[in-house]
Symmetry: C2
Subunit: 543 residues, 2 copies
């Protein structure tokens, strides 16, 4: 049986556009003489549709589109993810099996994830039937994403009912390590069930999530039979050996096992795809970035250039009296290296008018965080003014370590539409900088940028490490506290208890800032976004 | 049987503080010679604890606190909401029945709400047992919040098992109309089961939620037997007539049915309590508000004064060349009427330095939204500088109509820690202003403020209605679109289709702004907060 795995990049809500894309992939699959073409979970409406699902007309429109799409399915079987509903208006995360212009059957997802970034129990009811379907005389079991992650899942029942192949249609978002855990799971399931598994994953960026593709076919011994591309659309066509008689195919296929990317390469590609899709799916073309001459904005600029092309990236340096010659020169150098438009806008004069206007109010008080933040907020205002005037989207440059401990200015450097490295810890930002340089012949990010001790340059001789432990230590503690919810008791065994306590306090206190942060791309198992729902008002102290 | 209903205001996460408060209320209940004292849902940890529940040490600490609290329960029975867990580390939203220093039994909530602002299935497992308990020889059924909202709920089983009274412990957040629907539900359940129902609700503000109290005792005919205060802590002690023999009580009680507040009064009290608790529970004392001379900031100032006292509210007027004499005078008048500190900080000079610095970039381009937003963002920067310097929290003044259609400036007038009237539509802001004036002998909010056509004063002769339909029409459409998820098709029958389409477009397009808005107090059935989870990237267009 020839199976075409359509690893597509839909847009949430764009029912007509997604249907057109699905129709295009069906045509392509037919050109390859495929017997079956299989699409990802909820691909018709995009994933996750969130509260669009609470609009009854949205769900009805999705059914309308599915029905008119069905009319285009001739000569092969299509498996398409959509939203189903019943007479009681209960919703189901569903897969339609379409043949000969007709919806032949529908499977409803059994296991609804409601943890991490997932809220499926907010919308969907659990499916009850474990239907198998006959395709070209072969019994197949179809299930959806989470269904195959649960040990005693519906797939076992499907095998008992005679399924020769298992299809799993997914929209599984990327984070570091996810691809490997996914592959090892699918392998295990194949070995358990002695069945071939066809796993199709979505690809593309949707707000804070990036779906990484990497669709997979694993044979019944658990050997990888085919793998789709990562971070791009793909049509992966494979011939599955079955006992039943097969008709002769018009064209033969090469065996396709795309190579898996390395860890840093994958992070980089996730960021590049996440930025591109956020910008383009929201109707923007160009972005503007505040270039401080530091490593964060340099990495963000490099990612933006890779996403959108250098002609669509503008870098702006906004020095004050506290900016060193080194950072000013580096900001310009970064722009030159990357070939992007560069502006230098001096904000010292604006800063001075603020301090003049506030002189009466602040009389007799020492300069402190108030004056520092004024500068950061002037920069935010300038970038937003450029954004408003020219229609460019502001990319913010804060990293995860800063967001965690609040080492960033609300409405200042946190201003912008999309926070590219929001989920990238500072130590990993350094790794990314080296990786980015290793991808090109010349150094995109100057060595001086990588080697300079990190500084916000909001006061004389300021260094990040005046207020924070070394990023190496900070990131280790943050990983345990933020991503693993470890306790002070546990962390205190490995690290200085005082340092840990100080960091916990900073993380907890700065929830209000994160609540007003722009969305950014999730790359870790727990990002500051939909999978981090801590109260702002929170007096918990471990004891 | 004498029952004390402890309608308390706990703080999320403050396990020790909440335990102390519970102990204090137990003492008070004993002074009234009560047989039972009953506390709200999850009162030990506060509600909703959100992802604190993912920290294993938090859950364990909550158990520790419950156990040491149990040692203080002597001479009466206490029913206390807490987080339970089992050997498999599954969590339950639970009620402990404590007698004689011992936890005599535990009930696990059956129905876990996972809609609107609720995410209980993210954390908890459903309880399976429907245990009844014997208190002073009387069989009682205990259930938790949602358990009594579902038609075929566990309360029916409890009645079958012989429960003579039903206790429902709740943390049910306020919105307009909620109290009445709650009372009519409890009444209905009493009539259905022919049982007296003791309903205890939490009180207090927690981020965007306000719990309104109004605890209730309904007799078995559905008649209201007692009602607690709204929007404040209360210990409501009642004698429930039972067939069993009762011991003589030391003190007798007056029958207590607190009067229900009127609709506007309740909205006002919700805002006052919401502000007070957000400010105080987060460790602030004073707030600062940008006073434009318009109605929104006037209402916010009045609420803040009622919440925190006039000595803790600072009003700041920040005029530019576009500010009329009328609004400047009114800003000052409002501050005078309310007796709050007033500052006038002229930002025209700062605005000019921005336009000078950007003159090169903007050369040849007409002044537009970019210049307007610069002014709003200067104001945001000034307020935040005062906040940073003096430790005052900035209250923002945007209303729901503005947040809905994006008629507000991100990092400008949207800057601040708490958005008091974020969920109050503009037409209701007017009603609130009249109501506020009716509460005092002199007019807090000058008539000229109420009568002036709304204007943002960011350009010459600007009026809100240059860009928006009348607020009366706008709010009607927004109620249907935002709160009821109505379709264009349905709304188009009542209103001009073009107007509706334009508003839908504005609401959808401005999701990115709302995502970065401060939290604010929910007063409608669907606020822009936890119960509004629309994607930013969203190409849905109804067809």
């Amino acid at each position: 049986m020839r199976i075409a795995i359509a690893q597509i990049n839909p847009v949430v809500g764009d029912l007509k556009g997604n249907a057109q894309k699905i129709a295009d992939f069906i045509s392509k699959a037919k050109k390859f003489d495929s017997d079956v073409v299989v699409f990802p979970e909820l691909c018709l409406c995009g994933y996750p549709p969130e509260d669009l699902l609470l609009k009854e007309h949205f769900v009805k429109d999705n059914i309308k589109v599915l029905k008119s799409l069905a009319k285009k399915v001739v000569g092969l079987t299509a498996i398409i993810g959509f939203v189903d509903y019943d007479k009681r208006k209960r919703l189901f995360n569903a897969a339609a099996v379409i043949e000969n212009k007709k919806i032949k059957g529908v499977y409803h997802k059994h296991q609804l994830p409601n943890y991490g970034v997932f809220d499926e129990k907010r919308y969907f009811c659990e499916g009850k039937n474990g239907k198998c379907f006959s395709i070209n005389g072969n019994i197949v079991g179809i299930n959806i994403c989470e269904d195959i992650w649960i040990d005693k899942g519906i797939f076992q029942e499907q095998v008992k009912k005679g399924a020769k192949i298992l299809f799993n249609i997914s929209s599984s978002p990327y984070n570091v390590g996810k691809l490997l855990s996914r592959e090892s799971l699918i392998t295990k399931r194949a070995q358990q069930t002695k069945r071939m598994i066809v796993y199709v994953n979505m690809v593309g960026g949707q707000d804070e999530l990036v779906f990484d593709g990497g669709s997979l076919v694993v044979d019944k011994d658990g050997k990888i039979f085919a793998r789709g591309k990562e971070f791009e659309e793909d049509l992966l066509v494979v011939d599955i050996p079955l006992e039943s008689k097969e008709k002769q195919k018009k064209c033969s296929l090469p065996l396709r096992i795309n190579k898996r990317g390395q860890r840093l390469e994958r992070i980089y590609k996730a960021l590049v795809l996440g930025v591109r899709d956020y910008i383009q799916k929201n109707g923007f073309k160009k972005v503007v970035i505040g270039l401080s001459g530091g490593i964060d904005s340099a990495v963000v600029a490099a990612v933006a250039v890779a996403s959108l092309g250098k002609e669509n990236v503008v870098g702006v340096s906004m020095p004050t009296r506290f900016s060193s010659q080194g950072t000013k020169t580096d900001a310009k150098k970064i722009a030159e290296n990357m070939g992007i438009e560069f502006k230098e806008i001096h904000i010292e004069g604006i800063f001075k008018t603020y301090t003049d206007v506030l002189a009466g109010e602040f009389e007799g008080l020492a300069s402190n965080i108030a004056e520092e933040n004024i500068q950061a907020r002037i920069r935010g205002n300038i970038l937003m003014a450029l954004s408003n005037k020219f229609g460019w989207l502001v990319l913010t440059t804060g990293n995860k370590s800063e967001y965690a401990v609040g080492y960033c200015t609300l409405y200042g450097d946190m201003s912008g539409g999309f926070a590219v490295i929001k989920d990238v810890p500072k130590t990993r930002v350094y790794e990314l900088a080296e990786y980015i340089n290793s991808r090109q012949e010349s150094e995109a990010i100057p060595k001086s940028v990588i080697e300079r001790p990190p500084t916000a340059e909001l006061r004389e001789n300021q260094k990040d490490q005046d207020s924070l432990p070394s990023y190496d230590l900070l990131d280790q503690i943050l990983t345990q506290y933020v991503e693993e919810h470890k306790s002070l008791k546990v962390m205190g065994k490995k690290f200085s208890k005082d340092v840990v306590m100080d960091i916990i306090k900073k993380v907890d206190l700065n929830e209000y800032k994160r609540r007003q942060a722009p969305p950014g791309i999730k790359i870790t198992p727990r990002a500051f976004g939909k999978d981090w729902r801590l109260p702002i008002t929170n007096k918990y102290k471990e004891f």
